[in-house]
Amino acid sequence: MNPWIAIGALALVGLLIPLGMMAVSSLIRPTVPEKGKTATYESGEVPTGGTRIRFNIQYYMVALLFVVFDIETVLIFPWTVIYRNAVSMDGVGLTNALAPMLLFIAVLVVGLGWAWRNGAVRWVRNPDRSQRSVDR
């Protein structure tokens, strides 16, 4: 049978179980609205400032890195699937099957090395190089 029907069914289950638990708990739990309960928790102190704080730029850096590298794996998977057949297939051989992916990964590694050396993944005390520069 079509596996996706089953997966869809499991998805349904995966949705129903949490909802069911919510329903149960909404039946048995008390509700005592009270001011102060709903205050944002900051270790018992009175909340100060907003939540939308500016956080470390490095979060962006790794996010950008991830976007690129993770997508590249999409291009690796098909290769892994056909790799052995390609090697054993006559007319292709080991070199023709392996070399392109080596090249691909080499390019990726150059990129990674560059990002590494330029502090894209250096979390603390990354010297913003543009500080030392006068952009024109």
């Binding site: 962006y60 950008l64 976007v67 690129v68 993770d70 997508i71 999409v74 291009l75 098909p78």
Partner: protein, 100 residues
């Protein structure tokens, strides 16, 4: 087997949503998301048609499209970041030191 027209309609709908977003939103990030919608509409087409024609060209190409979309976003976010630093805003209409 779903006929290919349905996929075409779906992708057209997604495309139109994207265009609508581009036309109405002034936030650069939302603009970016809308562009992603457009690209994904193209992907839907490609996959559907490649299934319809029975060759894998379209699916392969859609993989490339995905990768490029990712790269585009990477560059775009970077630019928007610098934009925010310079203009303290990501509103595309804020940046008007030059005439359109």
């Amino acid at each position: 087997m779903v006929p290919v027209q349905y996929y075409l309609l779906l992708s057209a709908a997604v495309f139109c949503i994207g265009v609508f977003g581009i036309l109405t939103r002034r936030n650069a990030l939302l603009f970016l998301m809308s562009v992603e919608l457009l690209l994904n509409a193209a992907n839907i087409n490609l996959v559907a048609f490649s299934n319809f024609h029975g060759n894998l060209t379209g699916q392969t190409f859609s993989l490339f499209t995905l990768a490029l979309a990712a790269a585009e976003v990477a560059v775009g976010i970077g630019i928007i970041l610098v934009l925010y630093r310079n203009f303290k805003d990501v509103d595309v209409n804020e940046a008007t030191t030059m005439r359109w």
